[in-house]
Homo-oligomer: 444 residues x 2
């Protein structure tokens, strides 16, 4: 990989920083264990990895600890890499120049739940699903839903979204304020705690999505939403991926208040069947998954409108989950799709190349159809799925990473898709491993 | 007022900049007419004004024009002040150091309407109500609704909100991308046009709300929403302002999907009666205005739940607008409340002191009750109203600006309210004229 070399002298400075950190926090608080370094600097499910690992992993217990770590790292000019869930596919926690990874393992608590303000103050290492479990009794929930292992700290860093984004927006819409440790150890709070404010610059919105490059987030106040009374899950199949994408676009244009709308191609449906987590066999054709939520009658209304639109767009079937368990099964099948795909890998040489592209809504049928054709021509095991209500979709391609010819072919297909998206006034985040050198460059 | 003096030598530099601008754009394009300068540097409805006026007003016709203006002003180090609707109450277009005001008068067009992408590209001087009128035929609308005279450019600058914010959020949630002229004339575009993107830093969110201090916005891509099928307006009265605030808080906690919820005290209701725009006489007691929107059955459901909550919170009546005209009348009464209050001024010495405070939802009944008591003790004509679903409210106090004793008393009351809000983890934007020296300081 085309990494810049580590700055000269860093190795020595790192050793001095580690020594000073150990003096302050004790030997055990700063790990230099090989396995630990590997766990924090490499991910088998990430499309993006680099050869370098962090030099050490620190485990702070408070904002004050993080501030002290930052002061020491700043003094020796040693890179710092914040780490929470480690489930990112885009190398967000890579340590290309070594340095100290700051793992928030011990900072995983709810600090304060303000039920009547509809907000909650948390530490970075709380998992979003665990958070929702812990506040369920209040009738509130945190609606941003990325991959299950994601933790709130990383979700802030990546401005993450998920299947609920079409209804609830993305991470930046749900952060009220942040406590941030700056590179030199100073601690700031971006805002007070009103739900709405236009006072001062929008620092909160600047830190969200900055991937730790502007500061290290140690405390987060999140808005909460009221749990909907009713949730129904529906599945519509189509003959072609263009028909499915068209239906999705028309649902948006009609203003149906869907909670989620996901597109999956026939390959992805077969992956779900093979993984077998849903207790039934799905038709392996282009499919839309819908989640409807709201009041009982509101949900029924939305379903009626959506059924008509789907039919007009050529749907070949429209089925609903029979009960809550089936709802959960279907949705977890969608959520686990990447892991299901990974589980199909035959040996250590197989890898999955993930991508992430968004275009204006009306261009979605075009780009999905063209990209699907490219993937088919590739002749490899590849699938398309996406958060189609936001014009956002993913290609996942299974390939033999030891085969340079395969790599070159995929690279061509992926870069063609990215170029196409940008031509359509869209954007992309992870075009593939070879572009990792530009992690902070807005490719738009 | 405590303005810093204009930097030495600026007057001469300004003259040279104006001469160069006139050479480039023609005599008429750069106004130094006294009345024009006064119109652009002073506002009779703003709580905040300063003695200084701009030295000239430029009227660009394109982004390129603005870039050239910026290049010249940058060369001579002359301040630039972007100007669109001029309806701000917080001195956002003041010219404390003179300089060139850039009025977007001629840049008021829709550049591109993308119906199927649910977005529209506009210039800064389009009025939001006019925009909605022009796109009505598409079944789409732009949901941010500040005071009627506001224009999109200023709405971006102030990260404005309005009565719809409780349902639709604020300006920053509806801007897809911005074309910005930087201080030295360079032109940037913050993002491409997908509805959702986490690529790169959130520059769009940084420019929104930066009040022209980071750059001059010349083109804006706005998200649009689908017009709801049904809209109903309801009005509930209460014995005390605390009861009304309590009811509002409980509606939020229940998750009722209201479009608007506004609180008005008995003084504000009497102002509406006096202004007489609604063809009926309202009970002059603390009141909540509701707007419900969605599908027909969804709206009925929301109304049922809200009625129960209001009754449980001590409402003394709950009435609905009988038809669309009455809906519009009621809402415009709320929208025009400031102007109604201004129209009650007796002579040139009377002024209205506006304020803007937000607190976490649960603290709203406390702060409103305490502030109301302070206002009553003041013995002046003063009212409270606010976007209560977001914990945001305004005090408006009528006073004799030539009477230093009155000023001092109001200042005390207003600052007490601001301190109280900040103690409650809230925030404020315009505490009063004397704090204008800190327009960009986040007082939180």
């Amino acid at each position: 990989m085309r990494w810049e070399s580590t700055p000269p002298g860093l190795a020595k400075l790192q050793l001095r920083a580690i020594a000073e950190l150990r003096q302050l926090f004790g030997e055990d608080a700063i790990s230099i264990d090989d396995e630990d370094l590997h766990l924090h600097g490499y991910s088998e499910w990430s499309t993006v990895n680099c050869d370098q690992l962090p030099a050490a992993v620190a485990y702070p217990k408070s904002t004050e600890d993080v501030s002290k770590i930052a002061q020491i790292c700043h003094k020796y000019r040693v890179p710092m890499i914040p780490y929470s869930g480690g489930s990112s596919l885009e190398g967000n926690f890579s340590a290309p120049h070594g340095g100290i990874t700051i793992d928030f393992l011990h900072m995983d608590k709810i600090l304060k739940l303000h039920e009547d303000d509809l907000d909650v103050v948390v530490q970075p290492s709380i998992q979003w699903m665990q958070l929702n479990e812990m506040i369920k009794h209040t009738g509130l929930f945190f609606p941003i839903d990325p991959g299950p292992p994601a933790k709130v700290g990383g979700m802030v860093g990546t401005n993450c979204s998920g299947t609920n984004a079409v209804r609830y927006g993305t991470m930046k819409d749900w952060v009220i304020n942040l406590t941030v440790v700056l590179a030199d150890g100073r601690v700031i709070k971006t805002r007070q705690r009103p739900r709405k404010s236009s006072a001062g610059y929008n620092l909160t919105g600047m830190f969200v999505g900055s991937e730790g490059t502007l500061g290290i987030v140690t405390e987060i106040t999140l808005k909460l939403a009221v749990l909907p009374e009713e949730t129904r899950v529906g599945v519509a199949t189509f003959d072609t991926i263009r028909d499915a994408a068209n239906a999705a676009m028309r649902v948006m244009r009609k203003g149906v208040p869907i909670q989620c709308m996901e597109i999956l191609d026939e390959v992805q449906m077969s992956v779900i069947n093979k993984a077998g987590g849903t207790n039934r066999v799905w038709k392996e054709s282009p499919t839309l998954f819908f989640k409807f939520s709201g009041t009982k009658s509101g949900v029924l209304e939305s379903i009626d409108i959506t059924k008509v639109i789907a039919k007009d767009s050529g749907s070949t079937s429209f089925e609903f989950a029979k009960n809550e368990k089936e709802c959960r099964d279907i949705w977890s099948a969608r959520k686990e799709s990447l892991w299901s795909m990974l589980s199909l890998r035959k040996d250590g040489s197989t890898d999955v190349w993930s991508t992430d592209v968004a275009v204006p809504l009306s261009r979605l049928p075009d780009i999905i159809e063209l990209s699907k054709k490219d993937l088919d021509d590739l002749g490899m095991f590849a699938s398309i799925l996406g958060h189609v209500g936001d014009g956002n979709f993913h290609e996942s391609i299974m390939y033999d990473k030891t085969d340079p010819e395969q790599r070159a072919k995929i690279e061509q297909v992926v870069h063609a898709m990215v170029d196409r998206a940008i031509e359509m006034e869209g954007s992309c985040t992870v075009p593939g491993p070879l572009k990792l050198m530009l992690p902070d460059l807005n490719l738009e």
